[in-house]
């Protein structure tokens, strides 16, 4: 890669007590690239993206955003760096005390000090971009279905036009059709914004669709990475087992006899 990577992770380690979650992650994400990190539950995917976005401080290792080291920074530096990011949370994480449009406009009003009226216009516009009409903006998050909440979460993540968008299991818990709608929206939004995207998922259909490149994480390390098209011929038994969803293989679930 001749260009400087947007995100560059080196030797990232994080433990909780005696449990090692990340054991030396190396990952580069180029500008405008969409990288999907796959892996089983509890392999450290979420912890990795939380370290990248700055919600968690890693134990050791380096994370560079646009070549700028972000680990060990002060809180105000972190807040400045956070402006580059948008994140779609697994459970959408909408603020249930605020209306839908206030959720979408939140980052603009609170984070960037935009006037409420102007921010509302942007919010309605952004809701339109994810296929939700202006009347949805006046509802409360609890009145929406799971798929609509995901779309509002997506609108909130992109409203401030971030340079990097993190998607945490964007299709989990949705029916296959709604999952595909979300995938299409992610592709469209990332392309329209020219943003860099890091997604974590264990939904292979979603990974195939939204990824330029796929990396697989296992036991706190990246064990394979390559272009999305080549994952079916990875030749890696771990990857093969995961993408075909086989119970038998090198990844063993510890199960004791009854």
């Amino acid at each position: 890669m001749s260009q400087q990577p947007k995100i560059s992770v080196r030797g990232l380690k994080k433990s909780f007590g005696s449990k090692v979650v990340l054991d030396g992650i190396d990952l580069d994400v180029g500008v405008g690239e969409s990288v999907v990190v796959i892996g089983g539950s509890g392999t450290g995917k979420s912890v990795m993206v939380k370290c990248i976005i700055g919600l968690m401080e890693p134990d050791s290792g380096s994370i560079k955003i646009d070549g700028e080291e972000v680990t060990g920074r002060t809180r105000s530096d972190r807040e400045r760096l956070m402006q580059k990011f948008g994140m779609l949370f697994q459970g959408s994480a909408l603020f249930d005390s605020l209306r839908v449009w206030q959720n979408v406009a939140f980052g603009l009003i609170q984070g960037r000090g935009m006037e409420a009226a102007a921010a509302k216009e942007v919010a309605i516009h952004t809701l339109g971009a994810v296929g939700l009409g202006p009347e949805i903006g006046e509802l409360w998050p609890a009145e929406l279905s799971g798929g609509m909440q995901k779309r509002v979460g997506l609108a909130r993540a992109i409203a401030a036009k971030p340079e990097i968008i993190i998607f945490d299991e964007p299709t989990t818990g949705l029916d296959p059709i709604m999952g595909d709608v979300i995938n299409d929206l992610i592709i469209k939004c990332v392309r329209d914004l020219g943003a860099t995207a890091v997604s974590i998922t264990h939904d292979m259909a979603s990974a195939h669709k939204i990824a330029d490149r796929i990396a697989m994480i296992y036991k706190g390390r990246i064990i394979w990475e390559g272009p999305a098209k080549t994952i079916d011929q990875s030749g890696n038994p771990y990857v093969d087992q995961f993408i075909h969803g086989r119970g038998q293989g090198p990844i063993q679930m510890e199960v004791r006899a009854l």
Binding site: K50, M87, F89, G91, A93, F106, G107, G111, A160
Partner: protein, 257 residues
């Protein structure tokens, strides 16, 4: 040895929790004095904490004042010292019972509500979402509640003092046959500025404790519905105990002659 090890574990856990709480307190205070200050959120919290607590605080205060008069009368009439009853009622209400009872009621009502709300926001990633939207959760969630607690509790306690003394007046005049104007005169004579001012200082401290404990336990809750339930319990229990502890400390400080 196993026994000693378990004592050690409990001790270290206690030290860890104390340290975390101290850090949380310092963060809250440092964010309280730096912009942005969310004045509108503070206003909304004042209404939540103050206005909506009025019925419960008022009811507890009036019954406390009434029962206090009744019991004092039972005790003092044995010594023919009934004229001291207004004195006792006024001092007890303003110095101790007003702040402590209002504090405990608000700890149950508001401490629990804050812990449940912030705890739910924590376990549904809403607090993380705040951070990703360039909003400091301390400034947006914690500071408005704590500031509102410090402002509101003294006002609530002032009202509780008045209602409590009024309860005493009702029982004193209608049930025990006091002369109304003499009762009020005795109350006014007994009351000194330091009595009710010390009560209001206590109230401000209690407001800080209640909201801080609610925020702390909610902010650090984990593990879904059960975690939020535990956070709520801790917030009320630790808030109540700290109110009683600090009530003693403040009394010793304010009235040390």
């Amino acid at each position: 040895m196993e026994f000693l090890a378990s004592i050690g574990r409990v001790f270290f856990a206690f030290l860890g929790a104390t340290g975390r709480l101290a850090l949380f307190t310092v963060s809250t205070l440092s964010h309280a004095f730096r912009p942005p200050i969310y004045a509108r959120l503070i206003g909304r919290q004042i209404i939540d904490i103050g206005y909506y607590s009025l019925p419960v605080v008022g009811l507890t205060a009036i019954f406390t004042g009434m029962v206090l008069t009744l019991q004092t009368h039972t005790g003092f009439s044995r010594f023919a010292a009934e004229s001291a009853i207004p004195n006792v009622v006024v001092l007890s209400m303003t110095r101790e019972l007003g702040p402590v009872i209002a504090g405990l009621m608000v700890a149950g009502r508001i401490g629990a509500a804050i812990a449940a709300e912030l705890g739910t926001m924590r376990v549904t990633d809403q607090i993380d979402a705040l951070s990703t939207l360039s909003t400091n959760p301390y400034k947006y969630l914690v500071v408005p509640r704590v500031v509102a607690g410090i402002i509101t509790l003294p006002i609530l306690v002032l009202i509780a003092d008045i209602i409590g003394i009024f309860g005493g007046y009702l029982v004193g005049t209608y049930k025990l046959g006091y002369n109304p104007s003499a009762f009020l005169q005795h109350c006014a004579d007994a009351l000194q500025a330091r009595d009710w001012i010390s009560g209001l200082i206590k109230a401000a401290v209690f407001g800080f404790i209640i909201t801080l404990m609610g925020c702390y336990h909610g902010y650090h809750s984990k593990g879904g519905a059960q975690g939020v339930g535990a956070a709520t319990t801790y917030a009320v229990v630790s808030g109540s105990i700290m109110i009683l502890l600090f009530n003693y400390i403040l009394t010793a400080l304010l009235f040390s002659e």
